[in-house]
């Protein structure tokens, strides 16, 4: 009882439903020697903002039990260099980019959408409405359905024909209602989840590990949280859901499809197992895409 491998969003076709999550793999090229990117459904590039961002000072990574805290702070080269230098090598090598667009504030966001609209080679974007590391925008948008609606709606209006995924933060009381707002605003798909807010403290110096204190938790520790978010969203919206969060084995990927995801993204796991995305594709090619759990579509208890 399996589904086709191909994922279609309007006219946009992804050869299979296995992606690299935004961030860990950078612009893709950095992993080109280690992961056969052309075999994947696509690579979600690290979030790009209109202007370049230097990212956060101080420590940026810290391990926790089965988890990784990061406070990279959306370091990126900015939209200009991104489209000029980072996108062409992907396209030239047969890699399907999904461009993750950041939202620092409304003005920067609009310009980001505008410049994206002008790049023909890009026909799929993911709106990062959820990064917990940016002071302005970021998390606020992803926790407020009305604001989120405006952002998604604007992207929908400008980026006709482009597949638009809205990436959501789990740091809300009801992620499904946020997903619904994104769907109503015209998103073609939902990506869930971004990192879970967390922090750690260095007991030796008695100071928080990160300069900005809070950071984003990823990795196997959050897998159950991501799975539940996907389940809840998939029951609520009619558009496809990309599941992401702690996938660290083929079995984990299968769980996300069973929870109702139409695609999966691998993030943190590539740090220790760059072969995993390929193994998931292998498994799907061999066994097909798992069907959702029978109870997945039933009415909420």
């Amino acid at each position: 009882m399996t589904r086709e491998l191909e994922l279609r969003i309007g006219n946009v076709i992804f050869q299979n439903p296995v992606f690299l999550a935004s961030g860990p793999a950078g612009y893709g090229a950095e992993y080109a020697e280690l992961i056969d990117l052309g075999r994947l459904g696509g690579v979600v590039t690290k979030t790009v903002t209109f202007e370049p961002r230097p990212g956060n000072p101080g420590r940026r990574l810290w391990e926790t039990p089965s988890g990784l805290l990061n406070s990279v702070g959306l370091e990126n080269v900015g939209s200009k260099r991104f489209f000029a230098e980072k996108i062409p090598p992907l396209i030239d090598n047969g890699v399907k980019p999904v461009v993750s667009l950041g939202a620092e504030d409304w003005d920067q966001y609009r310009r980001m959408i505008e410049i994206t609209a002008s790049v023909e080679a890009v026909d799929a974007v993911e709106l990062n409405l959820s990064c917990p590391n940016v002071e302005r925008g970021g998390m606020t948008i992803g926790t407020d359905p009305d604001l989120l609606y405006e952002y998604v709606r604007h992207a929908r209006d400008v980026l006709a024909g482009t597949a638009i995924f809205a990436k959501l933060t789990p740091n809300v009381a009801d992620i499904a209602s946020i997903a619904l707002a994104a769907e109503e605003a015209g998103a073609d798909g939902i990506t869930a989840i971004n990192t879970v807010v967390g922090m750690d403290i260095d007991t030796v110096d008695g100071e928080p590990i990160f300069d900005r204190v809070r950071a984003g938790l990823s990795g196997p520790a959050i897998m159950p949280v991501a799975l539940e978010a996907v389940w809840r969203i998939a029951r609520t919206v009619d558009i496809p859901v990309m599941g992401v969060g702690g996938i660290s084995s083929v079995g984990d990927a299968r769980k996300f499809f069973m929870a109702g995801a139409s695609a999966v993204q691998v993030g943190t796991a590539i740090f220790y197992d760059p072969a995993l995305p390929g193994h998931i594709v292998d498994a799907l090619e061999r066994d097909g895409v798992p069907e959702p759990c029978p109870g997945m579509r039933e009415a909420e208890e």
Binding site: G26, E30, E33, K46, G55, R59, L68, F271, Y272, D273
Partner: protein, 271 residues
């Protein structure tokens, strides 16, 4: 410079020898196809077993010959303990060689090497290789540690012209830190001033920059930072580097590991 050819390899352990109570020298058979590497490059090791830490652990290449790949592993936590506990014939999953900027060949000049603790690893690689290839003039290795038990000795094989050590507690060699030893030797005119290569704790390298850096023609240092990807993708291992237009963030893994020590914005780089 972008060095290519990195990949995933599985390396068989040939020998595992304790060179101090907490440090092991691990010699592996160089895996088939493992590319040529330069001093300052590193490999990243996957720790396996039930719920081992998520991230790979980065280790400088301590020597690479046609047959063998050697690492120097100091036990400081669960990952290093697992690696130091591997037995001959066990396999180590490693990603490498990583790092794009390496210690530049001295092409005949004299050099001073300052190595703090396990920072000895890339220094050993440089000395062994350049001595084998005859591209280095006089070489002085200054090695510092807390105490005698933490000293790693001269594991360089075909080693440097001169080897001195310093211990904070004075249990062996110079009594005091290795930077002071370096300073005293400079003052006494006993060591060359062409090139300085260093690797060790941040405090040590920072002190080198503050206290002796200007007396050398050039000072190259191999840095460490907590890493996730090791390939420049995640931007987790950044170090602020001073440029004309202010500090920019460079990745230790892919823009290093070797930097000109004085370019690092040390005051902005917190551990």
């Amino acid at each position: 410079m972008i060095l290519s050819g990195k990949g995933l390899f599985s390396a068989r352990v040939l020998e595992n020898r304790a060179i101090s109570p907490s440090t092991h020298l691990i010699v592996m058979i160089r895996p088939d196809g493992f590319p040529e590497a330069q001093p300052g490059q590193f490999v990243s090791i996957r720790i396996t077993g039930a719920g081992a830490p998520l991230l790979r652990r980065p280790y400088s290449i301590c020597d690479l010959t046609g047959e063998a790949l050697t690492l120097l592993v100091k036990i400081v936590g669960v990952g290093s303990a697992a690696i130091a506990g591997t037995r001959p014939d066990e396999m180590i999953d490693l990603l490498g060689p990583l790092g794009n900027e390496t210690f530049p060949d001295p092409v005949g000049e004299d050099a001073v090497f300052v190595a703090g603790g396990a920072g000895l690893a890339p220094i050993v690689f440089a000395i062994r290789r350049w001595t084998r290839e005859g591209t280095i003039g006089r070489s002085v290795l200054l090695h510092g540690a807390e105490c005698r038990d933490e000293l790693l000795g001269d594991v360089t094989g075909g080693g440097p012209t001169e080897f001195r050590c310093a211990t904070i507690d004075g249990s062996e060699g110079h009594h005091g830190d290795v930077v002071t030893l370096c300073e005293q030797l400079l003052d006494a005119g006993r060591i060359p001033t062409d090139l300085l290569y260093s690797c060790g704790p941040r405090g040590m390298v920072k002190a080198l920059v503050e206290r002796v850096d200007g007396r050398f023609a050039a000072h190259y240092t191999s840095l460490e930072a907590i890493m996730a990807c090791g390939v420049g993708a995640c931007r987790g291992c950044t170090v602020p580097v001073a440029t004309e237009s202010g500090a920019v963030m460079k990745a230790v893994c892919s823009d290093g590991t070797v930097f000109r020590a004085r370019e690092i914005a040390w005051d902005e780089w917190k551990d």
